[in-house]
Amino acid sequence: MRLVYFARVREAIGMDCEERDLPATVHTIQDCLDWLRQCDTRYALAFADPVRLRYALDQQMVTAEAPLAGYRELAIFPPVTGG
């Protein structure tokens, strides 16, 4: 799965995107966050405050409970602050 990061999340992780093979135990966005947190402390820091995280699957906003099956791109980013 392609993972893309923006703003504070991007800077905390240190890259704007990566391609990852997710383990079979990862079904939802929440599972993916938990798994990444264990991979590296940079993810643990980037995802430390779930209240300040938002998610999109193939560019559609979803919640952390959303299943990943059938999607190619997961985006993780802070609440938006444009305008």
């Binding site: 923006f6 703003a7 991007r10 999109a56 560019q59 802070p78 609440p79 444009g82 305008g83």
Partner: protein
């Protein structure tokens, strides 16, 4: 008429209003957001999610077009580094009557702030740079448009 643009070049209110002037409407409204020199801020940096951000802006524009029977609406958002005093965002509407143009213009900027994938960083005189936190007052303003 609907026009959406995200650009790293400098923008102006006129760019949004000009295409709306000859649609036969009696009313144009515009809102322009400018980078402010708040407590040592010298520049903003705007990041977006190419593809998704454009979709977000089209969705907000489509909702306004339908809800207020607009003749036209334009949303232009700048990205990249923006010096204090420069324009960050311009929204403009054309309608037959003023209530539609004014209400739709306020709706567009309120909803753009909460629904479009942009992130803003503030660069300060001391060289520091901080991501702006989302404001709950923005959510409150956007929610008042929900019927």
């Amino acid at each position: 008429m609907k026009k959406i643009a995200i650009t790293a070049e400098s923008i102006s209110t006129a760019m949004a209003l000009t295409p709306l002037e000859n649609l036969g409407g009696g009313a144009l409204a515009s809102f322009t957001g400018i980078a402010r020199a708040d407590s040592g801020v010298v520049a903003l940096e705007l990041e977006h999610y190419p593809g998704m951000t454009e979709q977000n802006l089209h969705a907000v524009a489509d909702e306004a077009m339908t809800r207020w029977s607009l003749l036209g609406c334009v949303l232009i958002h700048r990205v990249g580094k923006i010096a204090v005093g420069e324009q960050v965002v311009v929204v403009a509407t054309a309608a037959h009557h003023r209530a539609e143009a004014l209400d739709a213009c306020a709706f567009l900027i309120d909803r753009l702030k909460t629904d479009a994938a942009f992130w803003k960083k503030e660069h300060r005189t001391d060289g520091s740079a901080l991501w702006v936190e989302a404001k709950s007052t923005d959510d409150a303003r956007a929610e008042k448009w929900i019927d």
